[in-house]
Symmetry: C2
Subunit: 231 residues, 2 copies
Amino acid sequence: MKTTLPKFDSVFSIDCVIFGFDEGELKILLIERNEEPFKDWWALPGYIVEQDESIDNAAERILYELTGLRGIYMDQFYTFGDVNRHPQGRVITVAYYAMIRLNGTKDLKPVSNYASKAVWTPVNDLPKLAFDHEKIFTRGFEKIRNKISYQPIAFELLPEKFTLTQLQHLYEVILTKKLDKRNFRKKMLNYGILKELDEKQKGVSYRAAKLYKFDRRKYAKLFQKELTFGK
Amino acid sequence: MKTTLPKFDSVFSIDCVIFGFDEGELKILLIERNEEPFKDWWALPGYIVEQDESIDNAAERILYELTGLRGIYMDQFYTFGDVNRHPQGRVITVAYYAMIRLNGTKDLKPVSNYASKAVWTPVNDLPKLAFDHEKIFTRGFEKIRNKISYQPIAFELLPEKFTLTQLQHLYEVILTKKLDKRNFRKKMLNYGILKELDEKQKGVSYRAAKLYKFDRRKYAKLFQKELTFGK
DNA sequence: AATATAAGGTGTATTTATTACACTAAGTAA
DNA sequence: TTACTTAGTGTAATAAATACACCTTATATT
């Protein structure tokens, strides 16, 4: 990494922590960098914000260019502004996260050639990352762990139809702890935000489980109620 | 505001929402700007981040220069990056908040002359603010409203010794709703994070109330426990 | 056809937290 | 002494969280 690089003054960048759930594992999207610094390293998808675009738009564009993923809604979660986090100059980066449904989506094709590939990587098996991206990932993971206890974000990660065991498993992976099956089901079903389908799991070599759907309408109602606390 | 101003490319800035509680009112600190653009307008204390300082340090420095307040611990809560939020160029601003104990602290003296004064202003009676500072304030207020339901931030705003009624009143102001006196007391005392003092309120023209202190040690223990959820 | 395997699916009792609700006690001021 | 103002207190009902173990059902194997 001792090449001569241009120096620049101040730029903003965006970095994205994109979560997916596949084969029972929580994964994030990493790119292999095709540019100095940190050429050939793994990194979070991220790049520099243009002069004339808002940071929210920049986040969407950058994710698209580096992974081919389009129209993904992301939320900002933290801004990293240490002085030496980028070797070429002062770069303050705004970190975004999103959760997406993998549905067997496999490898992704970067549109720009700034990344050579984009690969889903299990969070329990991450390689060393460029810049301070480990720190950014860790904070993003904390964010969703925290968020899952008051918002049904799990449904964004699962396929449209899922079993209660899959749902529980996802919660366990995000919370990093085991949950009690009966209590978990009681609680989930009590919220009333699940629609039981007339359909069962297929292709498993054991008793097939019932499939459920997330009911957005009922969730909206529930949430409305929860915003108006009792006294 | 039709003066000729220098244009610049990209800069980062910091804006601070500093909460205080005084005379039964929740207040924030505003400065009167002494520079274009928005000269003579009210604004959140904020300024530009230097090349060689981290954003956390910048936040501390800027608050000091504009208000004379020193060593205030602040938390970042959101970054505002719309393209046209600043008339002179592209400015992305990282917003911080803090809560401080007023203890009769009155007016504050800006150290830099970029602000002509710094004044505590009730949140229910804010003037029109420069830039997008209303938006920033609103988001900061939401942030503490949300935070108060899982962290005892109220104690940072109250004097060291306080009555339960004062504590309740502060909760009511932040949550913007009335609370039941008996339930509030039961709950607070149950947490076990209050130390009852052998002392009473003074100088009131009615029955004096007992004074309490916040017990940080017990809170630390409680918090530890809460981080390890049941199953 | 019988058996083994592997996950699916279910209920109850206990404890803890939340809510609703109204009167007496104590100190100060007139 | 009286009026005023806030302090301070308890209980019953309801709802939520927890701990805990066995039978059922579909598939695969012999």
